[in-house]
Amino acid sequence: MSVKEKLKKVLIEDLNLEDVEPEEIEDDMALFGDGLGLDSLDAVELVVIVQKHFGVEIKDMEEGRPAFQTLSTLAQYIEERMA
């Protein structure tokens, strides 16, 4: 399973997005605001999710901010640090 596919799966499961299917999360859809509709508390959960499921620690939210733009940017951030 690719990082993007796994990300979609854990986002839905861990954030309880019961009304969203994995295929509905587009690669370039904004994670926050009008896109997937996540909010500031989800940002904290995202830090936990990334560390728990991918072993990648986001120590600084300023560093994480660009990564949290879309599914693609987050997947890229994870892949770079997993390598």
Binding site: D14, E45, V48, K52
Partner: protein
């Protein structure tokens, strides 16, 4: 001060809503206990909650609080208050254990992955007042909000607070609820303590036997002062005490619904106090858990509303007392009697 019961919301293994509960009282069977991992459990669903709360709004709300919200919304609907101004509705919730699954999930994540991987959502839901907070936020009830946990005495204890709010004029209505959830950690502990007794069937009148079966559910009542009538009847008196310190004398003319739920430790108190008097018990309909005292209260309220005391769901007599026969309730009083460990008791007297 007398309190009037204006609405009821309820979810348990028999289904959700007053109609399902009434049907369970009428049929009196224990078919609702479902086997999970070879052990019977009474599990409650949350079907119908999306009628009241959008699905997206529920995503940070755990099963415990979802049961709570369903019961609260149904009670408001039953009292015809869903569209009313809710700024003077207080929320008082009784729970023996609170949101156990979320609490243990949070602790597990902390132990397995460290504090940096502990979910903030799990933490916020593990706080005991979280369910009451969800009710207040989702239903926009801005009057006092409180959760009382006092194990088996949680229901009468929280009911005293609701009564006090109404007497003080701090609120016009109280959404009073009782909630507990099934939890594998708790069930494991119960099996260690009670062994084969957890296998059921639950027999409330076998006072000297351990036959408790774990259950879960939520029940809510809309309570008001008794000035303008009641849809289901009145709570006349709430008494808490300890029978070993100050012996309880049962009111002579009341019919009793006892909270006997198959716990041998408490059985002898019921046997002694009833001393041959017939009583009703409905624990085989919803299982054994501290908040089940609220289900007993719902059984009393429905009985008063229907003017019928339904037959106990366990017709087996222990020889000390017997299950009451179904009867008409034209006049007179009902009382819910619940014993906890060590002689603690709660007595809630009702009338129509």
């Amino acid at each position: 001060m007398r309190m009037a019961i204006q609405g009821i919301g309820i979810t348990g293994s028999f289904g959700s809503g007053v109609a399902s509960f009434r049907a369970a009282l009428q049929t009196g069977s224990d078919r609702s206990a479902l086997a999970v991992d070879d052990s019977p459990r009474y599990r409650a669903g949350i079907e119908g909650l999306d009628e009241f709360i959008p699905k997206r709004a529920l995503r940070r709300i755990d099963h415990f609080s979802r049961m709570t919200l369903l019961g609260a919304c149904q009670a408001l609907k039953d009292a015809d208050l869903l569209a009313a101004d809710r700024s003077r509705i207080g929320v008082a919730i009784a729970s023996g254990y609170g949101a156990l699954n979320t609490t243990f999930n949070f602790l597990d994540s902390y132990l397995d992955f460290g504090y940096s991987c502990s979910s903030p959502t799990h933490f916020s839901n593990s706080v005991h007042n979280a369910a009451a907070a969800h009710v207040s936020i989702q239903l926009k009830t801005t009057a006092p909000s409180l959760t009382v946990t006092q194990f088996e005495m949680s229901v009468p204890s929280a009911l005293l607070s609701a009564q006090q709010w109404l007497a003080e004029g701090r609120v016009d209505q109280v959404l009073f609820g009782a909630v507990d959830e099934s939890c594998e950690v708790l069930n494991y502990c119960r099996e260690q303590f009670f062994g084969a007794g957890e296998k059921g069937p639950l027999r409330p009148f076998a006072f000297s036997e351990q036959s408790a079966v774990a259950g879960e559910g939520a029940v809510f009542f809309v309570l008001t002062r008794a000035d303008h009538g009641a849809n289901y009847g009145y709570v006349d008196e709430v008494i808490l005490g300890n029978h070993l310190v100050c012996p309880l004398n049962l009111p002579q003319d009341d019919l009793f619904i006892i909270g006997a739920d198959g716990h041998k430790e408490c059985g002898s108190f019921y046997a002694e106090l009833l001393n041959g008097r017939a009583a009703a018990a409905y624990a085989p309909l919803y299982g054994s858990f501290p908040a089940a005292a609220g289900f007993d209260l719902a059984a009393a309220a429905v009985s008063l509303g229907d003017r019928t005391l339904y037959a106990s769901s366990d017709p087996v007599s222990s020889g000390v007392t017997s299950a009451i026969a179904p009867q008409k309730l034209d006049q007179g009083q009902l009382a819910c009697l619940k014993f906890g460990s060590g002689g603690d008791y709660g007595l809630i007297r009702l009338s129509n």
